[in-house]
């Protein structure tokens, strides 16, 4: 590849960066949806009576079992067919967000279960009800313990945002396709550039999460994490 070609690619870099911003927005929206839903599903699985817990497990099973593209089509074309006016972006947030919640709930479930039961008894003995116990004792520990496995999920769903291509979201892969279709010789360098952008951003994301983990580190909490992970395996 000549310098000529790379200088042409350089011209398209801003366009690609703008498109990458869509992926980042998609990532933030879907991972937030997945986080909130995942925590709720995990809490239901661990603490609710049987029928409700079974329902949560079924939810997890569905969103982990159906391929991402099928979910995207279900949420976009399905909802559109049902008469809902839904944008491809929003459909992608829902489909990928709920899917991620199925994976995140499993992370949180393990972490929640690794909080020693004695601490729950202690919280109850102080007069804390279930909600206060969850808020002040369980989640602060479980969420900290979840950061390392959560980083993996973060990287995975970041890459999955490119699947929104399939329902017409103009994210980075679609934008790269537009460019390469019009300038065929640029196909390879453009996709190399896209790959490079993902590598850099994933690295930065994981670095940031690593920093967060360090900042929230509490002496003595890591031992539970190891126990929790061992139980998961």
């Amino acid at each position: 590849m000549t310098a000529e070609i790379w200088s042409q690619v350089w011209q398209f870099t801003p366009t690609l960066l703008w498109a990458m911003l869509i992926n980042v927005q998609l990532l933030l929206a879907l991972i937030a949806l997945g986080l909130v839903t995942g925590v709720v599903v995990a809490l239901i699985e661990v603490y609710s009576p049987r029928p409700l817990a079974a329902l949560a497990l079924a939810y997890e099973w569905f969103f982990r079992g159906v391929p991402e593209l099928v979910l995207l089509f279900l949420f976009y074309f399905g909802l559109t067919q049902m008469g809902m006016d839904i944008s491809p972006f929003f459909a992608a947030v829902l489909a990928l967000g709920f899917r991620s919640s199925g994976y995140q709930s499993q992370i949180f479930r393990g972490a929640i279960q690794s909080v020693p039961p004695g601490q729950l008894m202690a919280a109850h003995s102080l007069g804390m009800g279930t909600m206060k116990t969850i808020r002040y004792v369980i989640l602060p520990q479980a969420l900290r313990l979840s950061i390392p496995p959560w980083s993996n999920e973060f990287s995975a769903v970041f890459k999955d945002t490119t699947l929104a291509y399939g329902i017409g979201v103009v994210e980075i892969v679609r934008q790269a396709r537009y460019i390469s279709v019009r300038n065929f010789p640029l196909t390879l360098p453009v996709f190399i550039l896209v790959a490079f952008m993902f590598l850099v951003l994933t690295y930065l994301g994981n670095w940031g999460l690593g920093r967060l983990e360090q900042r929230l580190h509490v002496p003595g909490l890591e031992t539970h994490a190891k126990r929790g992970e061992a139980r998961e395996l």
Partner: protein, 255 residues
């Protein structure tokens, strides 16, 4: 409400608890008055922990009733959390909240359960830590404290709620021998200051120093209940005498 029970600080009436086929508690009744200290002893598996947990309903008794003053915690619509907040519970293995420094462990009850403002809750927590001699450890996490220090923080955590009654379930039996003294010292001080305490413990030195009565449990019932000296000198049941001799051999008589 029961006018009768208002006279006692704690009234436990005919408590039964069954786990599967095993009836762990088979009708336990006793009362405690304000500033009483009672020590429960008995062989492993006789239901001492179960009894203590039935009193603050960490375990649901199958049958029987428990009153703290005139509040029945076993009532169908009892405000369980409010009654629990008036009873401190100290566990064998401390159960401090791992993610919180000592001060926050102690402050969380007043602040989050009683809704006391942060600044006042902090003052309460500092006072409670001072009572157990750990003011300077306020910022240490549980993992940075010795077992004895952790148990003292756990006592402070219970104390900060200004409980009417403190329940202790073998508070020193998870500790290395050299750390037992510092915890017992705190407990003796509390008893002498008039705290009402129900303590499962085989530390006979402690029992002799501060207990008004020793409760000997066997097979899910109270077999005998008497002040320490009379129980040692003149046990009413052969089993009581045997058990006392056994734990004296086992634990010694350290004051």
């Amino acid at each position: 409400m029961n006018s009768d029970s208002a006279d006692h600080l704690l009234r436990v009436e005919d408590v039964h608890k069954r786990y599967g086929r095993e009836e762990v508690l088979r009708g336990v009744s006793f009362t405690m008055e304000r500033a009483d200290t009672k020590v429960i002893i008995g062989a492993s598996g006789t239901g001492k922990s179960t009894l203590l947990r039935c009193i603050n309903k960490l375990t649901d008794p199958d049958q029987g009733r428990v009153w703290l003053e005139n509040q029945e915690i076993t009532g169908r619509r009892a405000p369980v959390n409010r009654i629990r907040s008036q009873m401190g519970f100290v566990f064998q293995d401390f159960n401090l909240f791992t993610h919180l420094p000592a001060l926050d462990n102690v402050r969380i009850g007043p602040q989050r359960v009683k809704g006391i403002r942060r600044r006042e809750a902090t003052t309460l927590a500092q006072e409670a830590l001072a009572t157990v001699g750990l003011k300077e450890k306020a910022q240490s996490y549980p993992a940075q404290l010795s077992g004895g220090q952790q148990q003292r923080v756990a006592i402070a955590r219970a104390l900060a709620m200004s409980p009417k009654l403190m329940l202790f379930d073998e508070p020193t039996s998870a500790l290395d021998p050299e750390l037992i003294g510092e915890v017992l010292e705190v407990m003796v001080k509390l008893a002498k200051e008039g705290m009402t305490m129900l303590v499962v413990s085989h530390e006979m030195g402690f029992a002799r120093t501060v207990a008004d009565e020793i409760i000997f449990m066997e097979g899910g019932v109270i077999l005998e209940q008497a002040p320490p000296e009379s129980m040692f000198r003149n046990p009413q049941h052969k089993r009581t005498g045997e058990f006392l001799r056994k734990i004296s051999d086992l634990y010694g008589e350290s004051e």
